[in-house]
């Protein structure tokens, strides 16, 4: 049986953007893209694509579909997934999606997944590298009524109906099994995602990607409403204060410093 895997990937500002170029627009409550720095696929999402492609490496008849919700520029994320080796790409691009919260995103993605059709597993990043909410993957599983295994480092199909999943725990690895269809999410422990090959880049460049607007997804307007509200967005101001601890001699000063640090609950 040929597997069908779906990867959800988001476009984010390049996390390598120099800190000095980071700007927000407090009125619009948005991050202002740094000029000259192209946005990229969110790194955890790219790792999720990598896990899906490893499964495809072992079972070449596997079909991998990549879905991204975002503006027209998110087309690059879909194309990047294709260049890594995915087979099909879908872009959810509609002004109505602008500013969607985690719930709306999960809802729109769930409708897109239903429209894509039968699948065996979904692959997401543990959280997006911009707002780090980590809500969409589990929300999507909930809306689809399927099990979710999160924060993984690897996955494989035991047979056509069961997935074995390695979950990263603070002091080890938990190994889980779940029946398909299942949603899985991944973390940096996956390791470095593959570089696209020239051949896949050429194929990806030629590949048509499917674009769905809100109307194509049959979103229920009563349902597609935000459940959260971004009240404020600001860059915290850090203040540095310097205090010189004096003492009779070095040992005395050291003791006073230790006391100070303990008072401040630092040690």
């Amino acid at each position: 049986m040929a597997l069908h895997l779906i990867c959800c990937a988001k476009q984010v500002p390049d996390p390598e953007t120099p800190a000095a170029s980071f700007r927000i627009d407090p009125a619009a409550k948005k991050v202002v893209p740094a000029p000259g720095v192209a946005p990229v696929i969110s790194p955890f999402d790219e790792q999720a694509v990598e896990v899906a492609l490893k499964i495809k490496d072992a079972r070449p008849d596997t079909k991998v579909t990549i879905i991204s919700m975002g503006g027209a520029s998110a087309r690059d994320v879909v194309k990047h997934g294709l260049a890594m080796g995915a087979d099909e790409g879908v872009l959810l691009d509609d002004p109505a999606f602008d500013g969607a919260d985690a719930y709306q995103t999960a809802y729109a993605l769930s409708q897109a997944v239903r429209k894509v059709g039968a699948f065996d597993a979904i692959f997401c990043g543990r959280q997006a590298a911009d707002f780090d909410q980590g809500q969409v993957a589990i929300g999507l599983a909930e809306l689809l009524g399927i099990p979710a295994l999160i924060n993984g480092q690897a996955a494989e199909f035991i047979d056509d109906r069961r997935v074995r999943f390695e979950r990263v725990l603070p002091d080890g690895i938990g190994v889980f099994e779940a029946p398909t269809p299942v949603l899985t999410s991944y973390s940096q422990e996956v390791g470095q995602p593959r570089y696209p090959t020239l051949r896949n880049i050429m194929a990806a460049a030629r590949k048509e990607i499917t674009i769905w607007k809100s109307g194509d997804l049959g979103l229920d307007p009563a349902e597609f409403i935000p459940k959260t509200k971004l009240v404020d967005l600001y860059v915290p101001v850090y203040e540095g204060k310097c205090e010189i601890i004096e003492g009779e001699n070095a040992a005395d000063a050291g003791e006073k410093l230790a006391l100070k640090l303990r008072e401040a609950k630092i040690i």
């Binding site: 090959t197 020239l198 880049i201 990806a204």
Partner: protein, 394 residues
């Protein structure tokens, strides 16, 4: 006018950019600031990665199993590959593969088997022997090394200067005089194995960069006639055509270094405070950054223009000369200004600026000095067939 890249071109360039950022730059933290080679293990690992990506030796034509990537893409990729400390003379430490000298693609079957294919497979290394102690700007006149026919061999006597890698290469393309009376038509190119009796590395010549060059002597060196590349007397045409084409990537590499220096200067200016404010708020500094940007953008435009003409199969000697002279001089200015923005730290070996500063000085001399590029351009401008640049653009 806007440079419109295809999706494919953009993806290739992003791929190279990411590779350099993630694989090359971090390695340099543990290397000597003047290193020009990677530890063998890293070299093998990264070369294997590039091969798997299908980006090894991008310039090799399709008929030789290469990817046959166009010149615009290669130019922009070269700009990315060089954005690190050793990038000027060893973009990405050559893990993208050194491209064989194009004249070898016209080699005989014997020469192809013996030289070209091993070069493509990475089993052999090559050096170039044009310059002699008597000069390099005007090789048609300066080449004095003589080859005399003797049966099935040519016997070569003379010397060469500034031959990079000749002490580590397996063979070289050596340009010698086969007919003393025929002027530039009297020069021929031979494929010379470095273990040929009479091939002598006289000394290592140390220069501004850590990667030295050599001086060679040929003492009754016998080279079989089958090692003549192209026709007898074609040597000058071969070297001319090849150096012209090489000016495009050569210039692009300089732009890459300039871009890297400019990025550093902008970052530093935003953080460094003097007299109660950051440097970025001082007009004197802002203008340096602006002048850097003007230099970079002008260079890029000139290089891409040459690359586009090359891709279209049009003559591009004039454009390549313009690109070479401007981009190498401009990159020198950009690194110089970026150093000034950095102050003292700019000249330390903690940062790559001092290395680029030294090495860029060579770029105005190597591969045809600035004066020679200007001579090439002046000849065309003053010739009967001269056209204005606008004519050549449209």
């Amino acid at each position: 006018m806007e440079l419109k890249l295809s999706e494919e071109q953009r993806m290739i360039i992003h791929n190279v950019r990411r590779f350099v950022r993630e694989e090359i730059v971090p390695l340099e933290r543990d290397l000597d600031p003047d290193a020009f080679e990677l530890p063998a293990r890293e070299q093998e690992r990264l070369t294997a990665m590039v091969k798997a990506m299908g980006l090894y030796q991008m310039g090799i034509p399709k008929r030789y199993g290469g990817p046959g990537v166009d010149m615009i893409t290669r130019t922009l990729a070269a700009e990315e590959m060089s954005q690190h400390r050793a990038g000027l003379y060893h973009p990405s430490y050559d893990v993208f593969g050194e491209e064989p000298p194009p004249p070898l693609f016209e080699a005989t079957d014997y020469q192809r088997e013996r030289y070209l294919l091993p070069l493509i497979r990475g089993e052999k290394r090559v050096f170039i022997g044009v310059t002699e102690p008597s000069g390099g700007s005007d090789p048609a006149r300066a080449i004095q090394t003589k080859a005399v026919r003797d049966g099935d061999d040519w016997v070569i006597n003379g010397s060469k200067m500034f031959n990079s890698w000749a002490d580590r290469a397996d063979f070289g393309l050596v340009f010698v005089r086969t007919n003393p009376k025929a002027g530039r038509q009297g020069i021929s190119c031979f494929l010379v194995d470095t273990d040929t009796p009479g091939f002598v590395v006289k000394r290592l010549v140390h220069v501004l960069r850590s990667d030295y060059t050599t001086e060679l002597a040929f003492e009754d060196m016998r080279v079989p006639a089958t090692h003549l590349l192209g026709e007898e007397g074609q040597g000058f045409a071969i070297v001319n055509e090849w150096l012209t084409a090489n000016r495009i990537p050569y210039s692009a590499v300089g732009i890459g270094v300039a871009v890297a220096a400019q990025k550093m200067a902008i970052e530093y200016a935003k953080h460094r405070e003097t007299f109660g404010d950051v440097l970025a708020n001082r007009q004197a500094i802002q203008w340096m950054l602006v002048d850097n940007e003007l230099d970079i953008r002008t260079s890029r435009w000139l290089v891409l223009h040459a690359a586009q003409k090359a891709d279209e199969g049009k003559p591009f000697r004039f454009e390549a000369a313009a690109a070479k002279v401007f981009a190498t001089e401009a990159a020198g200015r950009v690194v110089d200004r970026s150093m000034q923005v950095h102050g003292g730290i700019g000249v330390t070996k903690d940062l790559p600026l001092e290395r680029w500063y030294r090495e860029l000085r060579i770029r105005r001399i190597g591969e045809g000095p600035s004066e020679v590029q200007r001579i090439i351009m002046a000849r065309d401008l003053l010739s009967a067939a001269a056209t204005s640049d606008l004519d050549s653009l449209i």
